[in-house]
């Protein structure tokens, strides 16, 4: 099974930021493949969601980019900016808190029903 796009949508930024924090610099395809491998195919990022988010993060100043020529085509590498590093910590902590809250919330619900 793999997770619905609704679930992934809210966490996509956090996933990308955390991956870049661990891997210094990555390009789009590499990000999708790494996520796929790490999650055992459970999370598959679609290109339609990944690239808009990457561009938005870049516009927010959280990512810096460098381009390299691969033969005739250009590859764009993304890495975290200074702001991006602090934001990553914030986002990861926020999400960890969210997970524990959800766990708590849903446990109660299962008990009452």
């Amino acid at each position: 099974m793999f997770f619905s796009s609704e679930l992934i949508k809210g966490t996509l930024k956090t996933i990308i930021l955390k991956l870049l924090a661990d891997n210094k610099r990555m390009y789009g395809y590499e990000i999708t493949q790494t996520v796929k491998e790490l999650t055992g195919d459970k999370i598959q990022l679609t290109e339609g969601a990944l690239y808009p988010t990457l561009h938005a993060l870049e516009a927010e100043g959280l990512l810096t980019t460098e381009t390299e020529y691969i033969g005739k085509r250009v590859r764009k590498y993304y890495s975290l900016s200074k702001d991006g590093k602090t934001k990553t910590l914030e986002k990861v902590n926020e999400f960890a808190d969210f997970i524990s809250t959800m766990k708590f919330l849903l446990d109660i619900k299962t008990k009452t029903t």
């Binding site: 390009y27 789009g28 395809y29 679609t46 290109e47 339609g48 690239y51 085509r73 764009k76």
Partner: protein, 411 residues
């Protein structure tokens, strides 16, 4: 690993472009991405085009341009937050500037005009347009957007009319009338008929429309029906009248001198002295006024043009005091010297023309009727913490008094 030929890469890039992806950055990202997938998964001998189609199909729901659209939406949302932040910041700045500006204005402290200008300019040219853009972005009907647009325009006009009024700039009357007319004949009907059609906004629309009509009506009565003539204007007019009478008496007295002195019947020595003294004193006071006008209006005139005195400075309390008094509140040399000359003029009149105190220039203090009943010194009463326009008027009054005393002596 599959080896992509240059033609194949060109083919993919062209296809991306043909599918409506216009951002170059995004084109290159997608190209590299698709190439990676093909290089990794396509086996030699497989059909390139067929594999390419299937790959791209997984990217998004329908077509490639959706990725671009999504990117633009995300980027504008980012803009949205920046705009909202700027709106709040500009709103705070203008409210603070307006509050402090009005307070300073009431207290007659310096800097109020700069603050009011800053407040109104920020409000009408930053805050209101941003508010409009943000409101227009919300998913509403075109008609509601038009209402918001006209409302914003009206708000800006209202701010500018107020600014013109406060600054005494010409054209504020026309601006007020235009603003009220747009409000009554365009905005309110438009707002009313848009809102009344929807059941959920009907009640609110009626109440707000009534309040808007009432508000506009009040503003109109306050500003347009009453001619824009204030206390400053009447004071200005009073000064003009004094100047006219003063000039008339000066001519009359001069004619009288010509008549009397040309006769040279008696030794009119005292009369020559009277003419000399009055003219000296008259010129001395005119010089004090001229220096004051040049100083406050930042001019370099050699003569006062009384028709050009009606400026915003006419209500200024501070500048005359700063020029005519020192830090300790003591009158300047010019004022003291003028008072001494007036007293010596009085003494001269008393000796030579046998006048009582009613026929002389008043240099006594004035009883403070509202306060402790003590005497307010003559200098303070006439010139300290007195608006510029009144200081000029008081000086003209003294000139006129001198001419009147002179007239009673030679007629």
């Amino acid at each position: 690993m599959y080896n992509l030929s240059e033609q194949q890469i060109e083919y993919i890039l062209n296809d991306i472009r043909r599918n409506g992806v216009e951002m170059e950055d995004l084109q290159l990202n997608l190209l590299d991405h698709i190439c990676c997938i093909i290089e990794k998964n396509l086996k030699e001998g497989d059909d390139f085009e067929d594999f390419y189609r299937k790959t791209v199909k997984q990217f998004c729901k329908h077509e490639l341009w959706e990725i671009e659209e999504e990117t633009i939406i995300l980027l504008t949302i980012k803009n949205y937050y920046v705009m909202k932040k700027s709106m709040i910041i500009s709103g705070t700045i203008s409210v603070a500037a307006l509050l402090f500006g009005s307070f300073f204005k009431i207290m007659h402290w310096p800097g109020s005009n700069v603050m009011l200008l800053l407040g109104i300019v920020t409000l009408s040219f930053v805050f209101l347009p941003l508010l409009f853009l943000l409101k227009a972005k919300e998913p509403t009907t075109t008609q509601s957007k038009a209402v918001i647009g006209v409302g914003t325009l009206l708000g800006i006009l209202l701010c500018i009319s107020t600014l013109f009024k406060v600054m005494h700039w010409p054209g504020s009357g026309i601006l007020w009338i235009t603003t009220s007319a747009i409000s009554i004949f365009v905005f309110i009907p438009f707002y009313f008929f848009t809102g009344i059609r929807k059941a959920e906004t009907k009640a609110n629309t009626i109440v707000t429309s009534i309040m808007l009509v009432g508000g506009t009506g009040l503003l109109f009565t306050l500003t347009s029906l009453k001619p824009i003539r204030t206390a400053e204007f009447f004071n200005f007019a009073a000064n003009q009248d004094l100047v006219a009478t003063r000039n008339y008496l000066t001519i009359q007295n001069n004619d009288r001198y010509n008549l009397l002195l040309n006769d040279s019947i008696e030794g009119r020595k005292d009369m020559k002295e009277l003419k000399q003294r009055t003219n000296d004193l008259y010129k001395k006071i005119e010089k004090i006024k001229l220096d004051l006008v040049n100083d406050i209006e930042e001019r370099n005139d050699v003569e006062i043009d009384y028709t050009k005195l009606f400026t915003p400075n006419i209500t200024n309390y501070d500048n005359p005091s700063v020029i005519l008094f020192n830090n300790l509140g003591e009158p300047s040399a010019a004022i003291t010297s003028m008072k001494n000359d007036l007293n010596s003029f009085n003494a001269f009149i008393k000796t030579n023309y046998n006048k009582n105190s009613f026929g002389m220039i008043n240099t006594e203090g004035t009883k403070n009727v509202n306060g402790d009943g003590n005497l307010i010194p003559w200098e303070t009463f006439n010139f300290d913490r007195v608006p510029f326009g009144i200081v000029i008027r008081n000086l003209t009054q003294i000139q006129l008094d001198i001419r009147v005393v002179e007239a009673t002596c030679i007629h």
